[in-house]
Each structure stands twice: as C-alpha cells, then as structure tokens.
Amino acid sequence: MKKFFSFFNKQKKFEEDILNGEMEYSSYYKDSLKRFRRNKAAMFCLSIIVLLGLVALLASIVAPYDPSYQDYTSVLAQPSAKHWFGADEYGRDILSRIIYGTRVSLSIGIFAQLLASIIGITLGAVAGYFGGIVDSVISRIMEIFSAFPDLIFAMAIMTFMGKGVLNLYIALGLLTWVRTARMIRGAVIQLKEKEYVEASRASGGTSFRIIVKHLIPNCLSTIIVLVTLGIPNAIMYEASLSFLGLGIQPPTPSWGNMISAAQSVIGFLPVYSIMPGIAIMITVIAFNIFGDGLRDALDPKLRT
C-alpha cells in the first residue's frame, strides 16, 4: 500500500513539475530534430545544401568570371590556373558557368516542387476527404497523368507551350504532382477517421475548415519530406530537358545544356562534360540523403 502511494506521489510530483514548467514534454518536432541531429550523413548533406544555396545566391561574388564573358584567346582552353575547369567553345569560363548553373537548378527544383505541392496537396486532400465519385475521378486523372513516361510528358508540354523558364516550372510541376497527391490522399483517408475531425465536424466545422485547419497541418511532415525528395527529381528532369535542348536555353548556363554543348568536344576537353555532371550528382545526392534523413526523423513509417 505504501508502495502504491509512493508511486502516486511520484506521478503527482511529475505532473506538478510539468505544470510549473520545470520539466517539459519533449514535443514531436523536438524529438525529430534530435533524431535528425544524430544522422551524421544527413547533417553533412544539409551543410552541402546550405553551401549550394550560398553559392547560388552569391554567384556573382563567388564566380571568378562573368558567365557570359567571351574571351576569344582562350576558346576551349584546357584547365589551368586561369580557368580551373577550362573554357568553353566561346572562351567562357566553365567554372563560372557551373556556379551560375547552381542558381538555375536550385530555383527550378524549388519552384517546380512548390507548384507540384500546391496541385498535389489540393487534389490529394480533396480526393481523400470526400471519397466516392470525387475520389474516383481524381484517381483516374492521376492514373492518366502517370501513364505517360515522365520525360516524354515534360517534352510534350515544353513543345506545346514553348521554351522558357516559366514553362519549365509548369511542365515540371505538372510532372510531379501525382506523387504528392497520392501520398496526401492516403494520409487524409487515414486521418479523417480521427476523433478530432469528428469533433470539428460536430462543432459545425465546414469541410474546407477541416481540410485546411486539421488535415493538411497533420500531413505536414509528409509534405516536407515529399518536397525535399522532389527537388532533386526536378533538378534531374531540368538537366535532362536542357540536355535535349527543350529546357533552359543557351546562353543562360544550366548544367544540362552545358553537357549537351560539351558533347561535340568530349575527346578534346573531357572536363567540360565531366564537371557539370558532377555538380548535378552532388546536388542530387545531397538532397536525397537529406530528404531520407528528414523522413527517418519525422516519420519513420514513410520509409518504403
């Protein structure tokens, strides 16, 4: 009996401590942050991403040359102290063009994902919440969208809408929203049976309010992970489209169109094709490992 009371007292003391703010519940995001910090590879990749972001923002300071400055005395120059990665067919510094390419790639990755998230979250949440015929229609639309191979679909959009950076954002956004919509739909179907949704409905919450106030915030960790893992995807598509000549148009430097331009001189200046590819690889790996780390930290269940 004494033992029982001692337990009871301990429990009471514990609750008092929490009430007095002397001890805190370790919250969900705090826990996740702790888990994430322990993942050394993901932390390292986060620092690479920050570095890439800085390079993109400060491209004009970091780059040794103007990316469109043509020095006719160093056309196709081999790597040297003057041009670390050599110079291209117009005598432009390859390193500087790669540095400016960071800006293009990162902005495309982020904006395309933003668009994909807006479409995907809206349609996914609506399909999952309402179910029935709405769900069937949206699910069939998703199926039709995913029936086309990604690259051909993006190429078709670029051909129909014309080349241009804005159209590239749209094409890549339209390409990748289905994945987001699927995940959000699945999450919403599970969440809508929860008591707090019922409580909100009972107290007169409209469907719109339930989706925006309750369901989407509860999918936040899924959304964060999807966006992070979607960015490298979009970067890869941008590089591929630019390589095919349908993405970013020269003279704007992009890693993809640089590799394409380098193709005619692969024997003479291999570094011209190698370096932009390494830049793509580092960026894609950094985002992928960082995204995996986020997923493991935020929601281990998402792991596929």
Binding site: R140, A147, F148, M236, P270, M281, N288, R303
Partner: protein
C-alpha cells in the same frame, strides 16, 4: 483471381480511352497548322483545303476523334505527314531497336541490382554494405546521359575498345545498355536491400532458421520470395521506362529507337506519328502496370482476396 484480373483489365481499358482522348485533345492545341507546315508556305488556300479534307482535318472534332480511335483499334495509325510512311511500320521498326536495348539493360540492371542488394543486406553494416550502397546512390543520382558520355570518353576515346555510336554490331550494344541500366541497377539494389532487411526481421524467417534450415536456403526460399513485391513494383515501372525508349541514351549514341521517334515527331509537328508514338508509349506503360498488378496476385494471395477491389 479471374474476377480480379478482369476488373483490372476493364480499369485499364478506361484509362487507355482517357489517354487517347487526352492525346487527341492535346494535339489539337499544338500551335502551328501541320498542313501549312507540310506544304510550301506559298501554297494557295484551295490546295490547303484539299489536303485538310484528304486528311480528314475538316471534320468536326468528335468525328475526328472517333476516326482516330477506330484507326488505333485497327492498328492503322495513318501515314506520317513528312515521310509518308505508315506510322505503324515506323513504330514497329523503332520498337525492335528499343526492345533490344531495353532487354539488355533490363537484364544488366536486374542481375547487378538484385545481387548487390542481397549482398548488402547480408553484410549489413559491414564495409561491403556501405561501399555497395555508396555506389548505388551514385548510380541513382548521376544523370544517365552523363554516364553515357563518361563511358564514351573512357571506353571509346581513351581506351578505344568499344564503338561510341550506332547500333549495328552486337558490340555497339554494350555501352548504351550499361548507361541505361546503371541508374535502374542502383535503385533496384537499394530497394532489394531494404526489402530483404524488412523480411529477415520477420518471425517466419527465425522459425525457418530455428527448425534447422540452412542460411542460404532460408534466404533463397523464404526471404527473397517475400521480398519480391516491392522489387517487382519498381522493376515494372522501370521496364516501362526502358521500353518507351530512353531519349537521352538514344540521343547520345544516335540510336534510332522509340525515343528518337518521339523527339523527331515532336519537333516536326508530325501529328499522326506523334499520336502513334504517344499511344504506343502509354499502352506499354499501362499494360506493364497491369502485368505487375496481376503478378502481385500470383506472388501474394493476400492481394487477391483482400484489397483487390481498391484502386
């Protein structure tokens, strides 16, 4: 089983019809009149009208769509506006090339991917595991066209071992197949490892080991079979991707496959060829998906009885 399969087939047919409609409508909004592109710029309006009539482009849209669907069903996809060759024949020729490339890289990707994934799972946490996984993440993250160019530089130009373009001799298949397969090998290796590790934790594996089954037998008979579902899903979509031709690899090695056909028809606004190519590609994707779903039902009976009706 039969009802599950027939249900999936009906769903597939609906999706295909939707795709044909989307393709048809998409091509209606293409800027630029194909007839004007086809003929001389100075062709008089009467000729243009005659050609439009001949191609059936003056019919009302629903009628044009019905003609298109009717053609697709009868494997008559019309003639290319430019080469005048039947679209079906061009598609078939390109398909043969793509099929060779796809099956070789598919084989390469599956053998390399599944064996690396299994080895990594069995040596979990050891240096072999981490080095294989590092390699696989590099394989997944490097653009395939870039790998193709690197292979060209190393094996074609520096070592002078293999041809760097064309698709005429068997030896010319080697580099494109590796370039196309590397990325898929990487993702197959990763999913195989994850899936194997998942399965190895299960109780029935411990039971099998406890009753005295050999480690190798357990891995092959119990673990690998049960780890197959996620692998098949991935392999299925990748087979679809490969069969629809990798435009990037085809461009680097100048291979006349489906991907090249798609690029050409797009840049020429060759509507019948484009419609045919897009329909072909969508058909391959949908059919591969269907086969993947059906193969699940064979491998895992729970799918057949349980969630069979769910989309």
């Amino acid at each position: 089983m039969v009802s599950y399969i027939s249900k999936r087939i009906v769903q597939t047919a609906v999706v295909l019809l939707g795709i044909s409609l989307v393709t048809f409508l998409l091509l209606q909004v293409v800027p630029g009149d194909p007839v004007a592109l086809m003929l001389d710029r100075r062709a008089d309006p009467a000729t243009i009208a005659a050609v439009r009539h001949q191609l059936g482009l003056d019919l009302p849209l629903p009628q044009q769509y019905l003609n298109f669907v009717n053609g697709v069903i009868h494997l008559d996809l019309g003639n290319s506006y430019f080469t005048k060759a039947p679209v079906f024949a061009s598609l078939f020729r390109a398909f043969q090339v793509t099929l060779k490339l796809a099956s070789l890289s598919f084989l390469f990707a599956i053998v390399l991917g599944i064996s690396c994934g299994m080895i990594a799972a069995l040596y979990r946490g050891k240096w072999l595991d981490s080095s294989l996984m590092t390699l696989s993440i590099i394989g997944v993250s490097a653009p395939s066209f870039w790998i193709a160019i690197i292979l060209q530089i190393i094996f074609g130009l520096k070592l002078n071992l293999l041809p760097i373009s064309g698709f005429d001799t068997p030896i010319a298949y080697i580099l494109p197949s590796i370039a196309l397969g590397t990325r898929y090998a990487g993702s197959i290796a990763r999913i195989t490892r994850t899936s194997m590790l998942d399965v190895i934790k299960q109780d029935y594996i411990r039971t099998a080991r406890a009753k005295g089954a050999k480690r190798r037998a357990v891995i092959i008979h119990h673990a690998l079979k049960n780890a197959m579902i996620p692998i098949i899903t991935l392999v299925g979509t990748e087979l679809g991707n490969m069969l629809t031709g990798s435009m990037l690899i085809e461009k680097v090695f100048s291979i006349p496959g489906i991907g090249k056909l798609a690029v050409d028809s797009m840049s020429n606004r060759d509507l019948p060829l484009l419609e045919g190519t897009v329909m072909y590609i969508a058909l391959v994707f949908v059919v591969v998906n269907l086969l993947v779903d059906i193969s699940y039902a064979f491998i895992d009976p729970r799918i057949r009885y349980g969630k069979g009706a769910a989309s």
